[in-house]
Symmetry: C2
Subunit: 360 residues, 2 copies
């Protein structure tokens, strides 16, 4: 089974009538080496005719490069959210990698604290760099890797750290959401965060909410703010509380779609209607946002861009290119559906999208 003599560069060299060195030079397009067009074509043809593929292991061993990047997925409480975007993020990374002839090795890590999984990946020289999704500040493996100068890019932020990362501009996204509500006349706007305030994304979304209010001379009222904890249920509980406030808010910014769903249920359960009695804007634009009743107005995340951006930065680090602009915040977009009460004919989208804004 699957015996078949391997075709090696020696075979190609012989067939083309050159040395293996030349074969290697041609196939790898080694810069600074002048090879006659004729020789080059001979080599290329021979390789094609023999269906020659260079052995990756031999190549890695000799060149000390693997041409592989690792995508490490750390289990996190935001799993539902992360999962929804994984395919798009994967596409982003995959496209960029493929364009530069890199491959992607996937590794999921249950518990960063108690395993050396990705240190091992690096130690074994399986990869040239890592994209780490769901980074944690107590991750000693990560710090050790950085110390050695190993290329790492985070998907998500580590507050105050100089580690390269790509993330969503959460502050901007939250502002977009809240400004939309303000522009349409709402003055008492509640907030239910996506998570407890110690989570970066949560703090940032709250900051965006606050900034939008202050910029429009509306006072930030602590009484209208509640903290969610990722789940739909937490959104429902928080909403019930907010509806007890007198007077209750006329609009709500729920800092994650899942939390928004909970808030939606709780509101409907009281016989109130959305958007008539409560205008609602979510955050994330998970696939099911357009399917709930009413369809949710929300902030769209640039999932593909997150993957592509992380891939691009990592490849630059791997190639030792200039290491500036290694912290990237990507802009979001407002997707207007029905829950905000401002729906012009069909669904329309406002703002941003692909282009990113550089920070640092």
């Amino acid at each position: 089974m699957h015996a078949q003599r391997r075709v090696t560069s020696k075979d190609v060299a012989e067939r083309a009538g050159v040395s293996r060195t030349t074969v290697s030079f041609v196939l790898n397009d080694v810069p600074g080496v002048r090879i006659s067009e004729e020789t080059r074509q001979k080599v290329l043809r021979a390789a094609r005719e023999l269906h020659y593929y260079p052995n990756a292991a031999a190549r890695s061993l000799a060149s000390r490069k693997t041409h592989r990047i690792g995508l490490v997925l750390c289990q996190s409480p935001e799993r539902i959210f992360v999962d929804a975007f994984l395919p798009e993020v994967l596409r982003g990374i995959g496209d960029v990698a493929q364009a530069q002839e890199f491959r992607v090795l996937l590794q999921s890590v249950e518990n960063v604290a108690q395993s050396d999984t990705y240190t091992q990946l690096v130690g074994e020289k399986q990869i040239d760099g890592i994209i780490l999704s769901g980074p944690r500040s107590d991750d000693s493996q990560l710090l050790a890797l950085r110390r050695e100068g190993f290329p790492v890019v985070l998907l998500g932020q580590l507050e105050g750290s100089e580690v390269p990362f790509v993330d969503v501009d959460s502050v901007g996204g939250a502002r977009l959401a809240v400004e939309h509500l303000i522009e349409h006349g709402h003055k008492r706007i509640g907030l239910i965060t996506n998570a407890p305030p110690q989570y970066t994304a949560s703090a940032q979304r709250e900051r965006g909410y606050r900034e939008a209010l202050e910029e429009h001379n509306l006072t930030y009222d602590r009484g209208l703010v509640r903290y969610g904890d990722f789940s739909e249920e937490s959104g429902g509980r928080a909403m019930s509380e907010l509806l007890e406030v007198v007077p209750p808010p006329t609009a709500l910014f729920a800092a994650s779609d899942l939390v928004a769903f909970g808030a939606m249920e709780a509101t409907k359960a009281r016989g109130l209607r959305i958007p008539r009695d409560l205008a609602l804007v979510g955050f994330d634009d998970i696939p099911l946002a357009r399917y709930v009743d009413p369809p949710l107005t929300t902030i769209r995340l640039p999932a593909y861009g997150l993957g592509a951006g992380a891939g691009r930065i990592l490849l630059r680090l791997i190639k030792g290119e200039e290491a500036r602009d290694t912290q990237l915040l990507l802009e979001t977009g407002l997707v207007i559906r029905d829950s905000c009460g401002f729906h012009e004919g069909t669904t329309l989208e406002r703002a941003a999208g692909g282009r990113g804004r550089e920070v640092d």
Copy 2:
């Protein structure tokens, strides 16, 4: 940057006072080699103290094994569906691979017909075997690989082929859905398939529908059957047609959740109510099935099991173990929510789940 002298097996050998051969034997647990417990411990300790990780490239080159499997995702029309389950499938594959110390290389393929992407993966000896998601019968790369005896497992079926695969028991799942409706008194049950009949999964779901009817002495009425084409819209169109039939069906089996959503909209748009005027059961249990209004009763796919099953079979093939039971159909489960009109208190589940049924 990242200089640092590499630790090699030579270092470990010296520190342990043995030869590199012995180090290799110990670290790889080579069977049939008797090594004193004392020597063994010395080696293990030295390796640990030096933070030694064997170089993967060198190991592959010498052993002709990569300890990596490739997961190839072929773009398919069912993308929305596939995407929803990708994280779970990935977990399944990852867990199995990890347990046997294999790694997973991810590769997505835009167009199987016009690229040699995964032939290249194999040619370069990047992987020891492939899991191919979304196989197509016109895929010549696949056939070539099989001919060479290269280990391949499909995620999904290729009708009439002997290629190893793991798939959902679609016939059984459809029967489960339809029997549920029959058991609760429905006699005129419509069907909207998930896709045109040339798709295996579509034909199988239709077969399950038919079998369930016949088994309960209900006649299969072509007039109550329509073909969807993956999209929600197609479900809406088909439903509108079915509602014109006199007398109209009292229940509907929509062979995918997305199609079911479309049918749901179309039904509501006519002022009819679900489940009162139409009992509805879907298929797939995509994440948003529980969030629509009313929550959708549907058939749950064993996503994790698909990944784990494919991984398990592939690893067996790679290790050259007995190649029986290489075609696996996994059972589904009925998830009862509100759309079928038979909701006992809270959501309850019936049947199957993890265990698989072997075929062939």
